[in-house]
Symmetry: C2
Subunit: 234 residues, 2 copies
DNA sequence: CCGTATACTGAGTTAAATTCATTTTAAATG
DNA sequence: CATTTAAAATGAATTTAACTCAGTATACGG
């Protein structure tokens, strides 16, 4: 009885909450937001209709719950998918693949995001959180000089996610599966390097990073061998 | 019967149809699709509620009407905004500016597009039509050798529109006005050339090309000054 | 002017979201 | 344990808004 009064119920409550969320996600994904009846969701969650409203203010709020959880999980997955010691370029590739693959697999849920309250609102805090994964990678890239200083991270973020999302829609529309080359080509134009695989070309070519590294090591050598002259990089 | 029974009424009918569409667009833009009551739209159009349903099967269909008209008009505007004799690069810039500016100005209507029936359906034929404007520019660019043969037009289309749409959202979110540089930077990475104006910083900064040149000249120096020792960067 | 087809109207129907008085279950108390 | 009390759950009743349709108004050819 005593001991963990709150904890016990807390666990139960959370289990129920999550069961409602699962039922809602499934139903929304199957028949869309408008097509889904709260009564159906309640039934799927083995709960009375009124109970749903104990956990969520209304249907919109339930949608926000589903969508929010999705993005939170996406953030976790993304962090797991990125190797901390990899180069910026590699990390971007990892994030890009992970992102494209995820939104293709859960296309319906992603689409629901647009039914959640338009801009503003902290409804989509989780999306903002997710996006920071990208920002961190880029910032680290800049700090490590793998990317030019004052790289317009914010703008590249829109390039990155905008392109991947539209590409995903295109793939879905044409009923094509996940395609790796989308990410490769995107990075090619975003970060430079490796040929923009027009369709499926394969040849190598010095990347920006490679150049930068080579340059640095050479500069180091130069500095050692000869230190009498110009310093510009401040 | 004879004469122009259909034509006379056709004109009137179209006038009314367009008046309903205007009322719907205004109302949707103000309170959103869900927030809009058909009865309000009817009142705004000075028409009985039932009349709306003579022109549109249901509320969704009305939305499709609003959204479809928007994209049709956008296509017309885009075609007008593009100079037929300009270079591909210039045309892309014209389309990009026009697009970004338009979707910023009519952000609410663009958002409504996502409420229209998800993928499939020929509901969004007008969007597909609009997108062809881009394809034509690119194809012409290829035909004229202003762009490499087998340029992946389809993928660049997603880069182009995806980036601009996400950029527009970002601008809206931050309550910033139309910003020309978004288009400039986008084209810089898409087509190359003219420096990618980082954010607003004006100072120069090593580009890939610069690095490559510097590297080459340094290597040349090295080769001249000392040619006996280690080479690691392969 | 009349007849008829066409356009329009808005009260009535219906479906689904949301509420809330009541019941059930769980925890605490003695 | 039996009892009290608080929390959680229920589902019938309410509300809201989309959609229908029987009836009315309008226009137009003859």
């Amino acid at each position: 009885m005593p001991a963990t009064p709150r904890h016990t119920s807390r666990a139960r409550v959370e289990a129920k909450e999550s069961s409602i969320l699962n039922a809602a996600e499934k139903t929304f994904a199957e028949v869309g937001f408008d097509g889904a009846k709260v009564s159906d969701i309640a039934r799927a969650a083995s709960v009375a209709e009124g109970t749903v409203y104990l956990y969520y203010k209304n249907k919109q709020d339930l949608l926000a719950g589903v969508v929010g959880r999705f993005w939170t999980q996406l953030t976790q997955g993304a962090e797991a998918a990125i190797q901390p010691e990899a180069t910026t370029r590699e990390q971007l590739e990892q994030l890009g693949r992970y992102h494209l693959n995820s939104i293709l697999e859960q296309f319906e849920v992603v689409s629901l995001t647009y039914r959640a309250r338009p801009q503003q609102e902290q409804d989509l805090d989780q999306v903002r959180e997710y996006v920071r994964v990208f920002d961190r990678i880029m910032q680290r890239g800049v700090d490590r000089d793998e990317l030019p200083k004052h790289t317009p991270i914010g703008q590249l973020r829109d390039v990155f996610f905008g392109t991947l999302e539209f590409s995903a829609r295109t793939l879905k529309l044409r009923e094509r599966p996940y395609d790796h080359s989308v990410v490769t080509n995107l990075l090619a134009i975003m970060v430079g390097s490796s040929s923009p695989t027009p369709s499926s070309a394969k040849d190598k070519e010095p990347s920006n990073r490679d150049l930068m590294n080579t340059l640095k090591s050479i500069q180091k050598q130069l500095k050692v061998a000869d230190n009498s002259s110009s310093n510009k990089s401040s």
